[in-house]
Amino acid sequence: MLELVGVKSGYGPIEALKGIDLQVGEGEIVALIGANGAGKSTCLKTIVGLLRPTAGQVRFCGQDTLGLKPQQLVAQGMSLVPEGRRIFGDLTVGENLGLGAYLTASRAQVQLDLAYVFDLFPILQERQKQRAGTLSGGQQQMLALGRALMGRPKFLLLDEPSLGLAPLIIKEIFAMIQRINREQKTTILLVEQNAHLALKTAQRAYVLESGVLTLQGLAKELLGNKEVQAAYLGLV
């Protein structure tokens, strides 16, 4: 589904990714873990076309994405739920979801997708007419996820979906992430600071440190890895 080959990227003279190779296969949940400032968000921004790689190649469904704009990648089935949720606070919950379906031409399809999102997150249906800014943090994260799903993505990128949320809500949201992967066969790249949670959810994982991938493997194995335990899981 997605392949990064020797990708370097960053902001102006600052190189946040120093050449990384990463693959995400169809139907997988892959986690990308690492500390604050390791380059995780830069990696996602480069994949969705907000940043241009300065070297290397990003391939989506076998095609080089260089020069494609974010809206073109969205049209090809990519969808990013950015860090901080970035819902449109002044618009209603319903309007936010409607924007997620911006590229869906068929009204019937939109209704089907909406029904699925409401089935996943019933609270969004109750709050449909409410201003999105008045939702709680957890509900806003559900809205951000729901909005992304309205575009029927083949490939979903999640940036820190657990950030700032209460443990119970996190559990609920991660259960839904796994359900989306199972039911819709959506491929997911999950970026998380909460390494334990990410490794429990994903099948495979990469560890990013200062712009370089230092470890990779099955999520279960990484959970047992001494280095990972010491650095990211708070176990010694």
Partner: protein, 305 residues
Amino acid sequence: MNEGVAYFLGICFSGLTRGSIYALMALGYTLVYGILSLINFAHGEVYMIGAFVGLVFAGLGTILGLGPVANAALALGAAIVWAGAYGFILERVAYRPLRRAPRLAPLITAIGMSLFLREFVILAQTSDFVAFPPLFEALPSLPQGWGEFVLPSELLILCSTLAVLFGLYLLVQHSKMGLAMRSIAQDPEMARLLGIDVDKIISFTFVLGSALAAVGAVLISAQIGQINANIGFIVGIKAFTAAVLGGVGSPGGAALGGLVLGLTESLAAGYLSSDYEDGFAFLVLVLILLFRPAGLVGKNLPEKV
């Protein structure tokens, strides 16, 4: 009818007519500001060009022997298309290349474009006043008594403006395009991540604002009967005042601000002195900036100029 009442109503109607034009113009400022946080200072010139195009095509229609309704439609249609094209090109040439530049840069190109377009019309056309063809001659006269305080053309302008405002409300609040515009106003990067072609929506907004300006220009020029290359400047400044008065970035506020400003001017001219008409418009601007900088219906302070 009592003479004083008729005088008062007459002033109100002429104020609302003038305010209608400010409202149509202010919407152009506010829609663009809402999306780009940019004051398009060349907007007044697009209005002026709309008036000139209306004049040319109304003259053409007269030569071709079109009826009054067909002629007005031709003038209005041509002005809308032409001004829309100017708005589109203006954004491409003066603002898009500076999308990532410091905020001062597009402000300077806006003023530059304003001066350029005015001088261009002066060179290509004339710096003198030219007579605008009377498009409203064929309007039916009003019922007995109304004629004491309102002209048929004033009512037509007022009703057309209200119809346009209602259409715009439907577009912004209840269409997919309007939803995209509102989402970009809040978070353009997120809008792109949902597949919205932000540049296309920005272009559309400029075309829309310019079309509104052209409607206002043709209507009021036909009412006043003469135009020159400088009419855009003063109307532009007044409409900007109206946009600030209503709360820049808020379409409802712009419409309200335009009508309030037109009424204020008209009342000041009618009861105090017409010499101070413009002075009162700007007095309103100063007072608003002092006491209610977010405008009548605005909620947050504009952070960019």
